[in-house]
């Protein structure tokens, strides 16, 4: 089961060339990190590489979703 720190390290490594802001657990993916649909898809595929078939609950307002939330849902989906 991947830890939050390991997940953030993966995200940081994968998005190092496209995200200017520093990635913290509480970083919100749209407002803070400025991800658009294309990057969000890359993030989903990154998460899916850990847990096949994973996806964020569609009812979530992505403006308020933080990296920590994605890790949280990742663990929920896995369990």
């Amino acid at each position: 089961m991947i830890t939050e720190a390991a997940f953030i390290e993966m995200v940081t490594r994968e998005f190092a060339d496209t995200i200017d802001a520093e990635i913290h657990p509480e970083s919100r993916i749209l407002d803070d990190l400025g991800m658009d649909s294309l990057e969000l898809l890359r993030l989903m595929l990154l998460a899916e590489s850990l847990v096949p078939g994973f996806e964020l609950p569609p009812q979530l307002d992505l403006k308020d979703v933080a990296i920590r939330d994605i890790h949280h849902y990742l663990l929920q989906y896995q369990s």
Binding site: E14, G34, D36, L41, M44, L45, E48, P52, G53, P58
Partner: protein
């Protein structure tokens, strides 16, 4: 003898077939039975002014004719878990002499914040590059839509033209961005590899 027929060839025919589905979405050809519902969606408040009809309301017959006019390939994007259509992707104005074509995608619900349409678009691009020897694909992106994938401009996508105040929508004129996606840049990016491997990163 074709590469795939030689003993020990790395790729099998299964690898070469373009995929039309992932765990989350499926690309389905448009059927006649889809017409009524699709026409309602395309002429709805959400899409009517933005998609191919540009705010006009053609007759059912004219709409059905226009659906495939100039279109090389087109699929409904359907959620895999409940078969609900969430969008449409289309390839049009294909030029086989010069090996390019245009790509468009639209989601049916404006408030849909899932990655379904983007994932379908990635799958569709892979399909187009797999089925035809296009050198590049063009996207005509109106200014009000650019922010959805602006991270790709300069990296994956190249802006080759920008007619200023080219389209009228919402009471004002907007620039149109002509973006190109070159085959080699696409193949070098992570997205086709991710789609092919079902979302598994490999170094």
């Amino acid at each position: 003898m074709a590469e795939v027929d030689r003993p020990g060839a790395r790729e099998t025919r299964g690898d070469l077939h373009p995929r039309l589905a992932t765990a989350r979405i499926q690309l389905q050809p448009v059927s006649v039975s889809d017409y009524d519902r699709l026409r309602q969606i395309e002429l709805s408040e959400n899409l009517g002014a933005l998609w191919r009809c540009g705010g006009s309301t053609p007759s059912p017959e004219a709409w059905a004719h226009g659906l495939s006019a100039g279109v090389l390939a087109q699929f409904l994007v359907v959620r895999a878990n409940d078969q609900v259509p969430v969008g449409i992707v289309a390839c049009y104005k294909a030029d086989f002499q010069h090996q390019f074509a245009y790509l468009a995608a639209a989601k049916f619900v404006r408030a849909d914040r899932t990655t379904h349409l983007m994932e379908a678009t990635v799958l569709f691009i892979e399909y187009l590059f797999s089925c035809w020897a296009f050198r590049k694909l063009y996207l005509e992106v109106n200014g009000y839509n650019l922010e959805q994938f602006s991270s790709g401009v300069g990296r994956l996508l190249e802006e080759e033209g920008r007619p200023s105040e080219h389209v009228y929508f919402g009471g004002r004129y907007w620039d149109q961005h002509l973006l190109s996606l070159w085959r080699d840049r696409w193949e070098e990016s992570a997205l086709p590899r991710l789609i092919k491997t079902g979302g598994t990163f490999s170094s």
